[in-house]
Each structure stands twice: as structure tokens, then as C-alpha cells.
């Protein structure tokens, strides 16, 4: 059971890592002017909800499986994701708004945020991997015993 949870988390985490990388690439494309703000934002906005859900699922899963430490680790980022999503002003086109992304250094802060998330997800990835393997080994041991 334990390992199933972690293996699922591992997969989810991989997806989040890919998503973060995708965000970073797309934002840096925008920075370099390879794509325009409109298409960049519509691309990114599509993935905001999956990201929120993906992260929320892991967080909840950790809560359910009573892994307090990992849950607490995930909680701030998950909260931030949800907060950011909810707080989008009604006139904006999503978390990434093409009319504002170049203003007030938003592009940079989005980039920074994506970087931090990437680091965080990588950390989680190894944590899950470790937990999954130790959990699996434990299961093996139990079985062999």
C-alpha cells in the first residue's frame, strides 16, 4: 500500500516536473521573443489547472496516508497555487495575462516561480523515490519473512 502511494506520487511528480520545465521553456521563449505574449499565455493558462490539481492530489494523498512531513512540505506550494488561481482578477485571461506579463517584471517573477517549483518537485521526486523503494523493500522483507 505504502509503495503504491509513493509510486503514484512519483508519477504525479514526474508530470509536475515536466510541467515546470514546460513553463520555463515557454517563458524563456517569450523572453527571447520567439513567441508572442498572446500565444505564450494561452499555452500556459491551459496547464495552470492541471498543475493545481496535480499538486493538490499529491498533497491530499499524503494527508490521507498520514505522511505528515511530506504533507506539510507540499502544503505551502499547493496553497500558493490555489491562491494564485483564485485571485486572478475577473478581467484577466488567467494566471498568465498577455497584457500584463511584460509589465512590472511579471515575466521574471513567473520565471522565478517556475524555477522554484522545478526545484521543489525534483526534491519531492527523490523523496518519493526513496520512500517508494524503501517501502517496496519493506514489503519485500515482510513477504519474504
Amino acid at each position: 500500500m505504502e509503495s503504491v502511494v509513493f509510486i503514484f506520487s512519483l508519477i504525479d511528480c514526474c508530470a509536475l516536473i515536466f510541467l515546470s520545465v514546460y513553463f520555463i521553456i515557454t517563458l524563456s521563449d517569450l523572453e527571447c521573443d520567439y513567441i508572442n505574449a498572446r500565444s505564450c499565455c494561452s499555452k500556459l493558462n491551459k496547464w495552470v489547472v492541471p498543475e493545481v490539481i496535480g499538486h493538490a492530489v499529491v498533497t491530499v494523498l499524503m494527508l490521507i496516508s498520514l505522511h505528515w512531513f511530506i504533507f506539510l512540505l507540499n502544503l505551502p506550494i499547493a496553497t500558493w497555487n490555489i491562491y494564485r488561481f483564485i485571485m486572478v482578477p475577473s478581467g484577466n485571461m488567467g494566471v498568465f495575462d498577455p497584457t500584463e506579463i511584460h509589465n512590472r517584471g511579471q515575466l521574471k517573477s513567473h520565471m522565478k516561480e517556475a524555477m522554484i517549483k522545478l526545484g521543489f518537485h525534483l526534491l519531492c521526486f527523490f523523496m518519493y523515490l526513496y520512500s517508494a523503494t524503501t517501502g517496496a523493500r519493506l514489503t519485500d522483507l515482510t513477504l519474504s519473512n
Binding site: 517569450l30 523572453e31 521573443d33 508572442n36 505574449a37 498572446r38 482578477p89 475577473s90 478581467g91 484577466n92 485571461m93 498577455p98 497584457t99 506579463i101 511584460h102 509589465n103 512590472r104 517584471g105 515575466l107
Partner: protein, 1199 residues
């Protein structure tokens, strides 16, 4: 001239070329007679040649020599004679003159003309005409030269430039700085175009000379076609007005394509000297030689050689007998208007000088002289004193010979302070006059304390308002650079001394940013046609006056410091027809230029002008009665819509359905097509909805005549604006263009419907103001779609109820449109608004327009732009996408300093606006601003531009209000004052802490911020309708600085004693200049009458005991009691005071795009509250008085 030491040894060959010139002698010291200089000139030129020209045929050297024009030179005998005769004398005579008086015009010869090639070489003839400015007596020679031209086409050159030189709007004749030289220097430049014989093969000369009458205005009209087509013939006609003498017509070469119309209105003495040279094929020399000129008058004309055509000079004041023509301002009256009308922009008649150049040869360059539009008439003298700075200063190695440099003066010594990077500067030396200015130059060392730093005790000093309008601070630059710098009207920086590091900027607590008005109507604009537009290879900066030329073949970008090659064709200067003077090309002489772009700058063929009108015809709209006004305005201005033969126009009306109008040519009458499926809008017919204006004019007129009455009985109250906009977008997307939307109520059906969000009870809340942002992203998305298809949406909101402007405005904000709002509009109940709509529409329909535009702002490496304000869509980091650009749009940007600017002493900013004119030409308008970099906090404060700071803060506060909250924004505004003043006070240790001290440059800062806090956009506690507030915010974001300042801090004048006031002359009118009054009720005396200029409104407040004569003469009523409540116009009464008042008001009106509404206010008038709300120094229930505000700030500082 620069110090001799700097000069390279001159090559022997060169010397040979100029036997006459005593090259060796440099007169470093005292400005002596011109003669030596002249010689110097050649010498220098010689010097240059070797290096630069080595590769070139020897021929050039000779010509160049000519250009340098030393009279003494032995050039072709022809030339010599002429010059000597005409020119030398002036020079010499002048000698003693101080720098102050530039030699006047006689010296100047311009060569401008397109050169023509003549195959056969013929001796060039030069004709110089010079006229003494004032002298009627002097014969002005006019020459007409017609030379047979040969076809130039073969030679095609790159450049066509038309330049229009400006007329100084207010009167100054401006000298081109460059050209005007102090006497001393004058010798150097002047003039001349000589056709070098040697070169003759290369260049033919066209002749155009114009002689301008001295004083007076005259206009020259040249026909100018901006087109570059090579049409053989150029005509320039000058019509001197008022002058007997003169005229010249020029002939010209076929090469001129452009017809230029010039109107020169010069004030006073203008001298144009032009030298023409014509080469003729035939052996017959055509030449006119005319020399006129009174040589004897040394003082006269500024020698400006304007490159191209005419130069206007101002006589040096000091000169003897010259009659000075009044310094008064001569404006080309309509220049602005004309330009507006004339879509062709630069070529418009407004610009006085035009040149035509064929593309053939080097192109013509117009010279533009910088004309400043300084509103205030000032005597020309100051300008004359300026020495022109050669552009060439860039070459360190080169002597300024070409340029007119003043002889070295002691000043030079002071120069060391210049940054090494800019070595050139030190070399040049401006005339003595400029010494002081140059000292001030890059460093403040020499000046004891800049005026900007003089401490002002705010709490004690009650009269801080200047007498007339607040001038823009002048950057503390070398005077030569200063003259080259971009006009503050187009380009302003909040800090005219750029701090070296972000840390220093943070310490100053002032925002760093730019305020731009890039597309404003200009009276003078050099237009350059060139096959290659010279740009930096790495950062793509356009070449500009602030680049440095490392040698003749290379230039160093002033933004990224990359060294670039000078293209071969750039070496040829059509202005002077010389080769190897890239620093004299108009691109390098003017900080505002316009290029005609080649196909490299097009993604698709230039679009035609396309106008679509989307009109609300619901019951509410019909009741308001705006349709009649709109249709009538359109009918009147149909022919004046900017555009060419491809112009297209279309109409859509909507209520709960959307109606299209088929205007296809051939129909007997307009056909209405109704689409009622508003949820899935479609175009009922593929064509015929947008039709060619000229082909279907009759149908369009029929429709416009019929429209106002078509819906009179409608009972439809709903408005399906969203669907109509979607339809409009579909209609426009193939071409792009402009959609003008007239809306009178909240959209209530279909896509984009909105709900009322305003709670009237919250209008005067002092707490949170909600709903400043859009309710839906529908309009924003639509705007982005439109922007992507190069379509802009302009919104006219004529509404008496809440219409959620915050949401609707998005359609214009992000598509680069503009927004007009007429609260409580009704054609009969509110005639003032109706009149305003009518006038605004006239301007709106006829002003210039640029399509499919993009604007990029570049700045010196180390600076970066992080936030943009205005109506546009930021497409990539520094690229603003402007589907349309109009002359009334302003922009602001905020910058940060990412890398410290320690290795440079100058920071430069360049905006390039690429657009398609209504004539289908792709053009690039480039403005470049150059500012010094400083490393001390005091210098930063000394250079603060308080108006720019306040406008930028207002923009930031709007953003803050929307993204955070209004109280936050208000706090931020107050903190901005508190922080900056406390930072200043902590730097100035000798100040007493108990007083509130501000540097002189910021003395108005607290006042302006208080005004902002009481502005509709930010005020709290006073009942403000949400739409009014949002509209004020939109205006703050999109108005250029001049108009915004009037909105923030209105101007108050006392007008019942205008007869006694000092006056200026504008055109033929006498305009009184009453002093500015404080915005306080204490100034309103019962005996007076006051005019308040709020930008969009004029209020005339009549005191109870106002002189009956004034009331009778100006208002047309016998006494105070009989003045009606609603009075919106002043009658035309034949009395001096009436005339003065009206001329003053119309002068104020002329300066702005949108016609203000005039309201006469008596005590009982309901508009009284509006008027009194603008008295921002007074206390209101909800806000501080100015004095209280100061105390509040002081308290905050002490905390």
C-alpha cells in the same frame, strides 16, 4: 577648433589642394578675423581626407575643399570670386564681434540641393544669394536656375530626403544650431555648395537657391511630393510674401521628386542663403551668380546653412542697423492643423522647408534646423550665440574643420571633465558664448549650485508657481548636445540627470521613467529616404546624433557600444554634396527624424486606410441624439479623412440585432442587412460592407443623411455591443484599420454583456473603491484579437448612466485605441457636451493616423524598461504593438538600472515608431534623447523634472489602484513625496530639520501630488461616479504629458485686465500672457474675472463686482445679473478687451488636440462646484489644503 595638438599632420597632398589656406596656422586663441579660420577650415578638411578618403579618387578632395569653403581657397576661380566677394567680407568684418553675434546670413550658403549628375562636366557655378535680413534695400537676388537635367535615374541614389525645416512655432527663427555659428566659426562652414569641377562628372548640380527676404515671413511653397518616384522636374517656387525682392525659383532638376511646400515663416530676418550650383551639360554655364548681399553687414544673418533649403536665421541681436524683425513669434499658424490634415505628414505644408531630392544621388538632405517650438518668444539672440556643434565631433581625429567650430577657446581647458568615451566633445569648442554652458556641460563642477538645487522652504514660500507655464528642465549637457537633443514635448525623462547606479536611484526615491509623445504633430520633421537605413548591427539602434564616429568608416553605437561600419552610401552627404562626411547627414544632425522604410520593414503590403463605424441605435442612443452629430461630422469631413485612393469605409449599427449596410458601388441606395442571430454572428455578405470611399461616396452620403432618422421610432432598448464588435472584427480582420464604436449604455445582450456594478452610495466613500478593473475578459480578448489583426477600437461612450467603462475601456486599451467619454450626453439638454463631441469628432476624423504600427524603446546598455503605460499591447519585452497610432497618444515607461553606468557619461534613449501612413507609406519615426549620467545624489535632485515625475507617478498610481486598492495608491503618492523630500533633506546636512525644504527642481512636487490626490481619478470622500473616475484613469494612462499636467493642475488666469498684460504675437494676433495664479479661492477677488484651463474644460468665473465694462465688452451683457446660467461661448464684440480675451482663449485652444468646453460661471451656477473642486490649494471637507498637506508631509518626515 580644437586644439591644434589634436590635429593630425596634414597630408601634403591636401595642402597642395588648398594652396591658399594657411593650413598651418591655427588660431587657437582669440577669435580673430574670419580669414584665418577659413583657412583652417580647409586645412582641416585636408586632414581628414587623407585618412578617410585615401581610397577615394582625388576628386573628392577638391570638392570637399569647396564645401569647407574657405573663401580664400583657390578653387575654381569662379567660386573664389564669388565667395570672396560675398562672403569674405562679411567674415572679416565680423571679427570683432563676439561670439554673440553670429555672422549673419550672408555667410551662409547652403548647398542643398540635390545634386545632379551631369555627365558632362562643366564648371560648376555657384550662386550664392545672400540677403541681409532686414534689408529690403538689398537686392535679393533670386535666381532661377534651370538647368537641363539629365536623367538621373541612372544614378539612383539612395536618398531622398525631404526636410522640412521648421518654422519656429513661436517665433523664433530657429537657427539650426549647427549652422549658426558664432562669428568666428562662421567662416568655416558656411556655405556652400560649390560644385567642384572635378566632381562634376559625378555630380551635377542642381540649383536651387532661394533667397529669402529678410524680415518677415514668407512662405515658400514648393510642391512636394513625398513620393520618391523620380519625376523629373522639380519645382520649387518661393513665394515670398511680402517681399519684393526675392525669389527664386529653382529649377530643378528633374531629380526632385518631391515637391515641397515650404512655408517658412521666419520671424525676422531670415536669411537663406543658398548656394546653388548648377552644372550644366551644355557648355553654357548656367550660373547665376548673384551676390547680393550686403557684405557690409556683418552682423546679419546667422550663417546657417541649412542644408537643404532654406535656413531661417535669426539675426544677431547685437548687430547694427538691422532692423530686427520682431522676435515675435511667427508661427505658421496652421501648421499643426495642416499637418493634421495632411496625412502625408512631414511633407505637409506646415514644414517650411522642403527639399526634394531625387533618389538619384546622394539624396537631398534637408536640413532641419532645429527649431524649437518654444512658445515663448524670445529674442533670437540667444540662439545665435550658440555655436553649432558640428556633428562631426565624433571623430576625434578629425578636425572639426568641416564643422564650424569655434576657435579654441579657453574653455577647452575645462572640458577635461568629459568622459573619455566622448572625446569628441572636448574637441569641439563652441564659441565663447557657450563657454558657460559647456562648462556646465557634463559635470556640475563649474557651476556653483545649479538652480535646481536651490533650497526652497515650502512652508514659508507661498508663491512657488512660476509666472508662466512650468518649463521642462534642460538636461545638463554640453551645449552642442543640448541643441541636438530631442524636444521635451516628444520625449521627457523624469530625471534629466540619470543616476549611475540603482542604489543611487533608490536613495533618491524618485521614479525613473520616460514620458513619450512620439507621434505628435510636428511642424518640422526631416524625412529621409534612403535605400539603407543605418542601424547598429547588434542592438538595431538607428543612427542618431549621439553616436560617435571613430573614424570616417566606423561609428560606435551609443546604446550598446558596438562599433559598426558606415555604409558606403552613407559617406555621401547630399546636403553638402560632399563625400566623407557621414556626421553631417541629417540622421546624425537631428534627434527626431523620419525614415521612409523599405520593404524590409513590411510584413505585408502597406494596408489602406480602413474605417469602420459601429453605432449604437437603441432607444437610449436615439434619445441622446448623437447620431445626427456623428453623421453630420462625418459628412463634413468625409473628404478630409486621412487616406489615399484605397481608403475604405463601412458602417454597422446595432441594438438588439446587428445591422450591416451594403454600400457596393452600383446599388441605387444603401441596403440594410439585419442579422438577428447575435449569439453566432456572421457577415451577411462577403463584400460590399467595407467599400471604397471614393467609389461609393454617393451611397455613403445617402446613408449618412438617412441614418439619423432611420431609428427615430425604435423601441429597442437592448444593446448587443459584444456581437456588433465581433462582427466588426470579422469585417476588419483581412485588412486592419480603425473601428470607431459609439455606445450609449451598458451592453445588455449577447456576448460581453455587463451588469451594473456601481453602488451609488459608495461614490463618496473614503474607503475602498471597487470595480476599477474590468468585469469580464471579453473585451480584452477582443482587443487582443483586433490588435493581432492590426485593428484598433476607439470608444466613444456617450452615456448618462453607469456603463461600466472599466470593462468597455479594455477594448481600446489593448488595441491601442483611444477613449472618449461624454457623461450625461444629450444633444439638447447638454449643449456643451454636444458641441464638444462635434469638435472632438472633427479632430478625430481629420487628424493623422498611423496604421499597423509598432514602437520600440531602446536605452543605453545597463538600463532596462520594466513597465509600460499607455494604450497598446506589449508584444514582446520591448515591442509595443500599436494597431493604430494617433498624434494625441502619450506613453510612459518605467525603467530600472540593471548594470551601473559607470563607464559612460551619457545615457541615451531611442524610440522608433514604425507605421504605415494613411497614404500607404511605411515610415519610421525615430526620437533620440541623450542625458548625462551623474553619481551624486545632489545632481540627481538637480535634474529632476517634476512634471514628468508627477505624470509617471500618476500612471503608477492608476496601476496600483486597479491591482491593489485606491487607498493604497493614495498612500503611495503621499509616500513618494515624503520619501523623496526626506531623502533630499538628509543629504543636505546644513538644512534645519524643522523646516520643510525642497530643492528648487522639486518645489512643485507636493503641490502636484496634492492636486493628484484631489483629481477625479484618486479623490475620495467627494462624490465621484465610477465611470468618471475610470475615465480619468484612462486619460492619465494615455494622455501626453502636456495635457495631463493641465488635468492634474489646471492653470488659472485673471482675465479682466488683459489689456495691461504683456503680450506675444502669434501670427497676426496679439495674445496676452497673464501670469498664472495660485489655485486658491483667495485669488478669486470679487472684482475680477478668471479663466481656468483644465485641459478639457475652460471655466470663466465672473466675480460679483466685476467691472461692468468687462462684462459688457467681453460677455456681451450689460451687467452681472444679466449673465445667463449657461453660457458656453464668448460673443465677438468689437472691443479691445473682447478681442484680447478671445485671442487668449483661442491661443490656449490651439495648443491642444481636443477642444475644451467653455463655461461661464456665476456664483449660483451649478457648475460652480466643478470649478471650485479644481482649486486644489483650498481645504475641502475630505482633503487637506495645501498648507495642511505640507504640514502633514513634514510630520511624516520627522517621524
Amino acid at each position: 577648433m580644437s586644439a591644434p595638438a589634436g590635429l593630425p599632420p596634414r597630408p601634403a597632398g591636401a595642402v597642395a589642394a588648398y594652396p591658399g589656406g594657411p593650413g598651418g596656422s591655427r588660431e587657437a586663441a582669440a577669435p580673430q578675423g574670419a580669414a584665418p579660420r577659413c583657412q583652417n577650415g580647409p586645412v582641416q578638411s585636408q586632414m581628414q581626407f587623407p585618412s578617410g578618403y585615401g581610397s577615394h579618387p582625388p576628386n573628392y578632395s577638391a570638392p570637399s575643399g569647396h564645401y569647407s569653403q574657405v573663401p580664400s581657397k583657390a578653387v575654381s576661380s569662379h567660386l573664389d570670386n564669388q565667395y570672396r566677394a560675398s562672403y569674405q567680407s562679411p567674415y572679416y568684418s565680423a571679427p570683432a564681434q563676439n561670439v554673440m553675434t553670429p555672422p549673419v546670413g550672408t555667410n551662409v550658403l547652403n548647398t542643398r540641393e540635390s545634386q545632379q549628375f551631369y555627365n558632362s562636366s562643366t564648371p560648376p557655378h555657384t550662386v550664392g544669394l545672400t540677403e541681409g535680413p532686414a534689408q529690403g534695400a538689398i537686392p535679393s537676388g533670386s535666381y532661377v536656375y534651370t538647368s537641363a537635367q539629365q536623367s538621373y535615374s541612372a544614378f539612383g541614389d539612395h536618398y531622398n530626403t525631404s526636410v522640412s525645416s521648421s518654422v519656429a512655432s513661436q517665433g523664433f527663427p530657429l537657427n539650426s544650431d549647427h549652422y549658426a555659428m558664432p562669428v568666428v566659426s562662421s567662416a568655416m562652414y558656411p556655405n556652400v555648395s560649390y560644385p567642384p569641377a572635378a566632381t562634376s562628372s559625378m555630380y551635377g548640380q542642381a540649383f536651387t537657391s532661394q533667397s529669402l527676404p529678410a524680415a518677415g515671413q514668407f512662405k515658400e511653397t514648393n510642391t512636394f511630393s513625398s513620393q520618391s518616384t523620380s519625376v523629373p522636374h522639380s519645382l520649387q517656387q518661393h513665394v515670398p510674401v511680402g517681399y519684393n525682392s526675392t525669389l527664386s525659383t529653382i529649377s530643378s532638376a528633374q531629380s526632385f521628386q518631391d515637391n515641397l511646400s515650404k512655408s517658412l515663416t521666419g520671424s525676422v530676418a531670415k536669411v537663406n542663403n543658398q548656394v546653388n550650383r548648377g552644372g550644366i551639360d551644355s557648355s553654357q554655364p548656367v550660373h547665376s551668380v548673384s551676390q547680393n548681399v550686403q557684405l557690409t553687414k556683418p552682423g546679419f544673418g546667422a550663417p546657417a546653412s541649412s542644408a537643404l533649403i532654406s535656413s531661417v536665421r535669426t539675426p544677431a541681436p547685437g548687430l547694427s542697423s538691422q532692423p530686427r524683425s520682431s522676435p515675435s513669434i511667427t508661427q505658421s499658424p496652421d501648421s499643426a492643423l495642416q499637418e493634421a490634415l495632411d496625412s502625408s505628414s512631414t511633407t505637409s505644408s506646415a514644414s517650411p522647408v522642403l527639399n526634394n531630392y531625387d533618389a538619384l544621388e546622394g539624396g537631398g538632405y534637408p536640413e532641419t534646423r532645429s527649431v524649437t517650438n518654444s512658445p515663448v518668444p524670445t529674442p533670437p539672440a540667444p540662439q545665435t550665440s550658440k555655436t553649432s556643434k558640428p556633428f562631426g565631433y565624433g571623430y576625434p581625429a578629425l578636425q572639426p574643420a568641416y564643422q564650424n567650430t569655434a576657435p579654441p577657446t579657453p574653455v577647452q581647458a575645462t572640458n577635461p571633465s568629459h568622459h573619455p568615451g566622448f572625446q569628441h566633445y572636448p574637441q569641439q569648442y563652441p564659441g565663447v558664448n557657450q563657454l558657460s554652458s559647456s562648462l556646465g556641460g557634463l559635470s556640475l563642477q563649474h557651476s556653483q549650485q545649479p538652480e535646481g538645487l536651490r533650497p526652497v522652504n515650502l512652508t514659508q514660500d507661498r508663491n512657488i508657481l512660476p509666472v508662466s507655464s512650468v518649463p521642462a528642465p534642460v538636461p545638463n549637457l554640453n551645449s552642442d548636445l543640448r541643441k541636438l537633443n530631442c524636444s521635451p514635448d516628444s520625449f521627457r525623462c523624469t530625471l534629466t540627470n540619470i543616476p549611475q547606479t540603482q542604489a543611487l536611484l533608490n536613495k533618491a526615491k524618485l521614479p525613473l521613467g520616460l514620458l513619450l509623445h512620439p507621434f505628435r504633430d510636428l511642424t518640422q520633421l526631416p524625412v529621409i529616404t534612403s535605400s539603407t537605413i543605418v542601424r547598429c548591427r547588434s542592438c538595431r539602434t538607428y543612427i542618431n546624433p549621439f553616436v560617435s564616429f571613430i573614424d570616417q568608416r566606423r561609428w560606435k553605437c551609443n546604446l550598446c557600444y558596438r562599433v559598426n561600419d558606415v555604409p558606403e552610401e552613407f559617406m555621401y552627404n547630399p546636403l553638402t554634396r560632399s563625400y566623407g562626411e557621414p556626421h553631417k547627414r541629417p540622421e546624425v544632425q537631428n534627434s527626431t527624424v523620419e525614415f521612409i522604410a523599405s520593404s524590409d520593414y513590411m510584413l505585408r503590403p502597406p494596408q489602406p486606410a480602413v474605417y469602420l463605424f459601429v453605432l449604437d441605435v437603441s432607444h437610449n442612443a436615439v434619445d441622446a441624439g448623437y447620431l445626427t452629430i456623428v453623421c453630420n461630422s462625418l459628412l463634413e469631413n468625409l473628404d478630409k479623412l486621412p487616406g489615399d485612393s484605397r481608403t475604405r469605409i463601412g458602417f454597422i449599427t446595432f441594438d438588439s440585432t446587428v445591422q450591416f449596410y451594403n454600400l457596393q458601388e452600383g446599388l441605387s441606395q444603401p441596403q440594410m442587412l439585419i442579422v438577428s442571430d447575435i449569439d453566432d454572428i456572421f457577415l451577411p455578405t462577403p463584400d460590399g460592407l467595407l467599400v471604397n470611399l471614393h467609389e461609393s461616396k454617393e451611397l455613403i452620403k445617402d446613408l449618412l443623411n438617412a441614418l439619423p432618422n432611420m431609428f427615430t421610432n425604435t423601441r429597442e432598448t437592448h444593446s448587443a455591443l459584444g456581437s456588433a464588435l465581433q462582427a466588426a472584427f470579422k469585417l476588419m480582420s483581412p485588412t486592419g484599420g480603425r473601428i470607431s464604436v459609439f455606445q450609449t449604455q451598458l451592453p445588455s445582450l449577447g456576448a460581453g454583456l455587463l451588469h451594473s456594478r456601481e453602488d451609488p452610495n459608495q461614490r463618496s466613500s473614503t474607503k475602498v473603491v471597487q470595480h476599477l478593473g474590468p468585469a469580464t475578459d471579453f473585451y480584452k480578448k477582443l482587443a487582443l484579437d483586433c490588435s493581432g489583426q492590426q485593428t484598433a477600437v476607439d470608444l466613444f461612450l456617450l452615456s448618462s448612466q453607469y456603463s461600466d467603462l472599466a470593462s468597455l475601456a479594455c477594448m481600446s486599451k489593448y488595441s491601442a485605441g483611444c477613449i472618449y467619454y461624454y457623461p450625461s450626453f444629450h444633444h439638447s439638454h447638454n449643449p456643451a457636451q454636444a458641441e464638444k463631441l462635434q469638435k472632438d469628432l472633427k479632430r478625430y476624423l481629420t487628424r493623422k493616423i498611423g496604421f499597423e504600427a509598432v514602437m520600440r524603446i531602446r536605452c543605453t546598455k545597463g538600463l532596462s524598461i520594466h513597465t509600460f503605460h499607455g494604450n497598446f499591447f506589449v508584444r514582446s519585452t520591448d515591442l509595443l504593438s500599436l494597431a493604430n497610432v494617433n498624434p494625441d497618444a502619450g506613453f510612459a515607461v518605467q525603467m530600472s538600472i540593471e548594470e551601473s553606468l559607470t563607464d559612460t557619461s551619457l545615457a541615451c534613449f531611442q524610440t522608433a515608431l514604425l507605421y504605415t501612413s494613411s497614404k500607404g507609406e511605411r515610415r519610421i519615426r525615430v526620437h533620440t534623447l541623450c542625458l548625462p549620467v551623474v553619481n551624486s545624489l545632489a545632481d540627481v535632485y538637480a535634474g529632476a523634472d517634476v512634471q514628468a515625475v508627477v505624470c509617471l507617478l500618476a500612471n503608477m498610481a492608476v496601476d496600483r489602484s486597479v491591482s491593489s486598492s485606491l487607498p493604497d495608491a493614495r498612500d503611495a503618492l503621499v509616500n513618494a513625496v515624503v520619501d523623496s523630500l526626506s531623502a533630499y533633506m538628509s543629504t543636505a546636512s546644513n538644512l534645519q530639520q524643522s523646516m520643510l525644504i525642497a530643492p528648487n527642481s522639486l518645489k512643485l512636487f507636493p503641490l502636484y501630488v496634492l492636486a493628484l490626490l484631489k483629481q477625479k481619478a484618486f479623490r475620495t470622500g467627494t462624490s465621484t461616479r465610477l465611470d468618471d473616475r475610470v475615465y480619468a484613469m484612462c486619460q492619465i494612462k494615455s494622455q501626453p504629458l502636456v495635457h495631463l499636467m493641465k488635468m492634474i493642475h489646471p492653470n488659472l488666469y485673471r482675465i479682466d485686465k488683459l489689456i495691461d498684460e504683456s503680450t506675444i504675437h502669434v501670427n497676426d494676433r496679439v495674445v496676452p500672457q497673464p501670469p498664472l495664479q495660485k489655485l486658491s479661492a483667495e485669488k478669486l477677488t470679487r472684482e475680477g474675472a478668471f479663466l481656468m484651463d483644465c485641459g478639457s474644460n475652460f471655466y470663466i468665473w465672473i466675480g460679483k463686482n466685476c467691472d461692468n465694462n468687462f462684462i459688457k465688452d467681453v460677455l456681451g451683457y450689460p451687467n452681472y445679473a444679466s449673465i445667463p446660467q449657461r453660457m458656453t461661448q464668448l460673443p465677438e464684440i468689437d472691443a479691445l478687451s473682447s478681442e484680447r480675451t478671445r485671442s487668449f482663449i483661442s491661443w490656449l485652444r490651439d495648443n491642444r488636440p481636443l477642444s475644451p468646453v467653455l463655461q461661464v460661471i456665476k456664483d449660483e451656477n451649478p457648475a460652480k462646484t466643478d470649478f471650485f473642486q479644481h482649486l486644489i490649494e483650498d481645504r475641502t471637507e475630505a482633503a487637506f489644503s495645501y498648507y495642511e498637506f505640507l504640514l502633514h508631509i513634514q510630520q511624516q518626515i520627522c517621524k
